[in-house]
Symmetry: C2
Subunit: 170 residues, 2 copies
DNA sequence: TATTGTTATACTCTATAACTATA
DNA sequence: TATAGTTATAGAGTATAACAATA
């Protein structure tokens, strides 16, 4: 079990509190998801990029960086790796040759389908303790909080980075 | 807004899914909490240690490390900092002089009270969108999942580390 | 001169391994 | 020799700053 470390503790006197449970479960969910996509030889940041490209193909690296909330420099290596792997493609914009437009390849689309499968399995495993009614309840509550907290669309900041080598099926 | 980076994206076709929302909200909660305790000049790992000591005073660093799931080496610096600050205290065990027993000082207990206040404010802010009934519902659902996933007591692995300098009120 | 993408650099955090002292 | 704690080292990951090409 590759732990990250010393952290938090429940609010002294009474039990944990929902905010703490949220943080604890969120870290757990992120970790488990990282394990699963590692089987596809992917890290969460790579998955995020693939999905961002799929959501709106042809954007420049600058646009992607802004959308994902990351410094543009970081996208370089990310795109590099996925391009060498043949799932992403950079195309020069003839009108403005400074820009690259980033697209998924066919292999990229196939990979994305795999990712979808993995995500569904992950979702199922995470919610195993709840019946359908409870799952719907939970979703409603979480969505309400997310909206209230102004969380952007589907962008997740701060997934714990889990190196693929660290990931031999726990 | 000091972001961590490119990550994830919602399950392509349909909406986000609860597992993703959980991860997203969890990261958000951890981040916000880190901001709040930074006002007390503390990091989440420090808070975790303080609470662990409070929960069972007098344990050795080895025991604390095991309880928190972190390498013992890491506790050294953590205890050092909090001891210099006067909120923790190391006492030699006369029976076995290799061991230290770690205790809270009076200042440490005061600080812990502050932390409790901060944690309650955090909880309130996170759940602002929900009424009392909904809060109770959410808590029940989260606790059920946490139990099912075998999450240890009140230990949170993987809080995003937020350096106090990074923390000028967002 | 401004902007896209890139490379180079530095910094933070954490873990692993080597060392000291007690037993 | 084994164990508690410490120090020293190295690694992963990220951000900041300097650079080249294009506009």
């Amino acid at each position: 079990m590759s732990s990250t470390g010393v952290c938090e503790g429940q609010p002294a006197g009474r039990g944990p509190g929902s905010a703490f449970l949220l943080a604890q479960l969120g870290a757990h969910a992120a970790y488990r998801f990282a394990e699963r996509v590692a089987a596809l030889d992917l890290t969460p940041p790579q998955v995020g990029l693939l999905r961002a490209v799929a959501a709106d193909p042809g954007r420049s690296q600058q646009e992607l960086a802004q959308n994902l909330g990351t410094p543009p420099t970081r996208l370089v290596g990310l795109v590099d790796g996925l391009e060498q792997r043949g799932v992403l493609q950079r195309r020069r914009n003839p009108a403005d040759r400074r820009l690259y437009a980033v697209y998924l390849t066919d292999a990229g689309n196939t990979l994305l389908t795999e990712i979808g499968r993995v995500a569904r399995a992950h979702e199922d495993a995470m919610l195993a303790a709840l019946d359908d009614t409870q799952r719907a309840q939970l979703y409603t509550l979480l969505a309400r909080i997310a909206a209230d907290q102004h969380l952007t669309a589907g962008v997740h900041p701060g997934y714990r980075t889990l190196s693929p080598t660290d990931t031999k099926p726990a």
